[in-house]
Symmetry: C2
């Protein structure tokens, strides 16, 4: 199915082993970031076709990485895999490949992120713990970045109900050293997740990239103690751009740890005192978490149905639709033409489409 050129057919959501391997090689190649990955896939129609034309890493390299990951009890999740989180897949810069270790079922449950200062006050850590525990008890999985301070307090409080740590470095990298024990606990009771390749140390520029995944996974982001020009402040702003709800705990204007927090509230974020303030906005998740769809080697439904499901009455760019549905440009053109002939599709300026 993935052998032919771009015009051959649709790239389904669950790639076959050869295509998976090609996607890994593409994703792990130098100068191919998430956006370029998605563009290459659309342009060439498949990762196999892309690998045939581009300078990508050798198959042996990704095989070595996969073996190391599997020895550590982990696995890869590729965009398009059934277990890949839908909210994350909807981002234009969705990670093509995630390394995961731990309880994959957590990815199928509703998620909220709790983020904040590394140099947090004791009061801030207490609030982070209380809010994470309250949200956890209500059924939310707590996602964070495993940093010192607020992140660690949130993970710790949510270990019993479900927590997920998104690492900036490779999934084997223990960072920060103070949280080594917590990282091991999250791996065994929760889930570790990383976009970075195995063995890669967490460099500075990886942290903001990591933060887009923390918020991208989540229905909303809870911010505790974000100073002016802090990483947490930027995470909150990006989360709002991703369409996520931003919940912010206020603090005294005399406390610089709350300068960013208070400005977020002034700019429209939701003032948050406790977990109930969040549950009042988002509601409580269903008591029975949705079972995770079993990975399958076959498409669950035809491409046209996927495209239809992703379409609505609001005009959507065709290229965004293709990225979302992981369908090549050529396959998309075919699907859209069929829908148009059935009188179910309306075309708009700027290569956008909507349902009739």
């Amino acid at each position: 199915m993935f052998d032919g050129p771009a015009t051959d057919g649709p790239a389904t959501l669950e790639p076959d082993p050869a295509e998976r391997c090609a996607r890994l090689r593409l994703a792990r190649s130098a100068r191919i970031g998430p956006v370029t990955f998605h563009e290459a896939l659309q342009h060439f129609g498949s990762a196999r076709a892309a690998c045939a034309r581009l300078a990508v890493v050798a198959e042996a390299e990704v095989t070595r990485e996969q073996e190391a990951l599997e020895r550590a009890g982990g696995r890869f999740l590729l965009i398009g895999d059934a277990g890949y989180p839908a909210a994350l897949a909807a981002l234009p810069d969705a990670p093509p490949v995630l390394s995961v270790i731990g309880d994959l079922a957590l990815l199928g449950r509703p998620l909220l992120a709790v983020v904040g200062a590394r140099e947090a006050s004791m009061a801030g850590c207490r609030l982070a713990g209380e809010i994470a525990a309250g949200l956890g008890a209500a059924g939310f999985v707590i996602a964070s970045g495993l940093a010192r301070g607020i992140d660690a307090a949130a993970h710790q409080a949510a270990l019993a109900t479900g927590t997920m740590a998104v690492l900036a470095g490779g999934i084997d990298q223990v960072y920060p050293p103070q949280n080594a024990a917590l990282q091991a606990e999250v791996a065994s009771r929760g889930l570790l997740l990383s976009e970075s390749p195995w063995g890669v140390a967490p460099v500075a520029r990886a942290f903001p990239r990591r933060n887009r995944i923390v918020s991208g996974l989540s229905a909303g982001v809870v911010v505790i103690e974000a100073a002016a020009r802090s990483g947490s402040l930027i995470t909150a702003q990006r989360a709002a751009e991703q369409g996520r709800e931003v919940f912010v705990v206020p603090g005294s204007p005399l406390d610089p740890r709350y300068a960013g927090s208070n400005s977020l509230i002034r700019d429209g974020a939701i003032l948050t005192r406790d977990a109930n303030d969040i549950l009042g906005v988002l509601g409580r998740p269903r008591p029975d978490p949705q079972p995770l769809a079993k990975p399958s080697q076959k498409p669950v439904e035809p491409t046209a149905a996927r495209v239809l499901a992703a379409l609505g009455s609001v005009p959507t760019a065709v290229d965004e639709l293709g990225r979302r549905c992981q369908v090549s440009a050529a396959a998309m053109a075919e699907v859209l033409l069929a829908l148009e002939l059935e009188g179910r599709l309306e075309r708009h300026r700027g290569n956008r489409v909507s349902l009739m």
Copy 2:
């Protein structure tokens, strides 16, 4: 002019000495609160006519009060007097009579109220002082209630630029005792103001009534450390009902002194970190404060012009208009008929009128 019955003529804005005396007697009579006062004035056409029909206090009693007030360097301000603050006069329960001691010119300048907890933290008092000083430097007079804590800190910081204390008891009552020196300073450098008669102790029920004057005088109310179910919280809610802007300093959800404050922000009040957050919303007053109009015994302009000035394109209830302009129902009927015949007035359902 005020001798005849209700149908005789317009009650002008600046009452003559006999009508002033009658208004004082009416206002100081048992069971005649502000709303009843305004209703009686409208019903009888003048306070003199009302005093002829109702059981009111003797003239000697208000003369004694006036003499005591004048011996203390004070005077009465009656609604309708040129010096009576316009923002306060617009309230349906505007005080008919104010006792004032100090710099009357402050009433002609833009005002902001700063209110908050008596049992305030040192941080709260520091914020109150910084904000009051900043607003004072920008040209605002600071109004408050001379209570311990936030009120006192705000008055103290604004002594140099202009401050006004609204007392719950009579203007001669020193309360609370801790603030005796501050009260004397506000009387000599700022302005003391009270609705209560001379000699009346500040009883509990007088405090919320007093608070409606603090906010009623002001363009906005700044709230610092309002606990749940606190007086400051109620003041802020009433201020919002009066159409005043409500500015609230946030605090930690772990600090019960900020429980009311944070809920006000959640309900739409403006999160406020410093004076600039307020000046950004309200702007800075003109550098030259408007000179206060000199009190005069004659009407400054005809009643019709006053009514016209109070009217706009939005339909207004005739009785509210009469209260606002201090014009009797009969005189108002005459003015409105004249305007209607000139084609300048439009009538609406529910006895409301607007300009054409």
